[in-house]
Amino acid sequence: MSIIDATVAITGMNAKPDNPGPGLAVARCLREAPDFKGRIIGLGYDALDPGLYLDDYCDASYLLPYPSAGDDALLDQLQMIQQHEQIDILLPCLDAELPGMVRLLPALKEMGFKTFLPTSEQLRLRNKDRLPELAEMAGINCPEIKAITQAGFFYKCQEEGWSYPLVVKGLFYGAYIVHSADEAADAFRKIAAEWGFPVLVQTMVKGEEYNLTAVGDGEGNLLGPVMMKKMAVTDKGKAWSGISIDDQPLLDASAALAKAIKWRGPLEVEVMRDQQGHYQLIEINPRFPAWIYLSVGVGRNLPLTLLQLATGRKPTAFSKTKAGVLFIRYAVENIVPIAEFESVVMQGGRNMSTVSGTDNKE
């Protein structure tokens, strides 16, 4: 057993009940890993991100600027955080921040952050508008998808062979099932306002949703796959409860995807299974899902695997796939003293370490 005694920064502390970011669950996995004895630094974008205030999982917490503030603002803030915390490994957990983080990898490396991320090309390949291309490479089915920039499409799409209901999606987040052109145009405007262009339209696939999470080693192998069937979802379609499964066709399809693009880093494969048992690829997310704690439940601590890879260690051998392990998510109120909230709002963080070598100089 090789103990990792390192400081790890994890983004995505927006653990909101109806649509939680994965960061807090990733921190929880690491905190419970006997092979991890380091510190965890929680990174969020909003002073109300719940994970920032959970001392059981985050030793210190900081706010990051939104991606719209630009690369320089992000690097400045990460530099400041690095001076305080001497972070060894950075684990980004949100789709929207991945392209920026990957672009800034040389600068992050220079600052001392280790990572284990996909390349820009791998990220582009799993973009929602390129899924059919990737699905074909891996030999699995995929619903038709089209990138659009004008809501007028929805009033003439039936002439092009599309039929309602359709799914209208953002490039990074957000999805609406729409049943008419007016509904679709409304969803288009909402998504464009929040996530920009293009907006994606996808044929609706009926069936049950199954997900798989794993870590790609960058050489075409899929490490420690954990498969899950959603048992209950929130209003936003996010898993509220799920059960681990062991399904060879889903595993084979996901392994083929990872092999086709030599995926590097965590990923989540989302598929729909129709009544005939055939899979349709819906999405590939370049990060762990919010339900990643199920990986601990089935004896495969995938965030630990990622940490081992990021630090050049050999991943711990995986136990046999365990089907029939449930998770049931719940919401809890954390009591936060106003001084803690004030620290995040005014100082951009809490429990911040003193910058080494700069204190008590005056």
């Binding site: 049950e208 199954y210 069937k229 681990s244 499964i245 062991d246 399904d247 048992g277 089907a323 029939g324």
Partner: protein, 96 residues
């Protein structure tokens, strides 16, 4: 003439979920059944449990009906109808 005997010449292989699907099912004493591949779960009553265990052991409709006729004091036609209904529901639950 016994109608049920005539119908029970069917082997059952075309009615039953495949043996691969049946053998992967986790069946508990309480009647709780879990399919580890699809993630589906469902419950069966005491009679259903007997039938499910028979299916796992002997996937031939004629032999299953014979065993059930020996074990249960019921009209053979009712037994056959119930078995076919059960198998149909089972197929739906395991998606096979």
């Amino acid at each position: 003439m016994d109608q049920s005997n005539e119908n029970s010449s069917v082997s059952g292989s075309e009615l039953f979920p495949s043996s691969d699907v049946l053998s992967r099912l986790a069946v508990s004493e309480s009647g709780f059944v879990f399919d580890p591949a699809s993630g589906h779960n469902f419950t069966v009553n005491e009679t259903g449990l007997v039938l499910l265990r028979l299916l796992l052991k002997e996937p031939r409709l004629d032999q299953i009906l014979e065993t059930l006729r020996d074990e249960f004091d019921a009209d053979p036609r009712d037994i056959e109808r119930d078995v076919i209904e059960f198998v149909s529901a089972l197929r739906e639950n395991v998606g096979a």
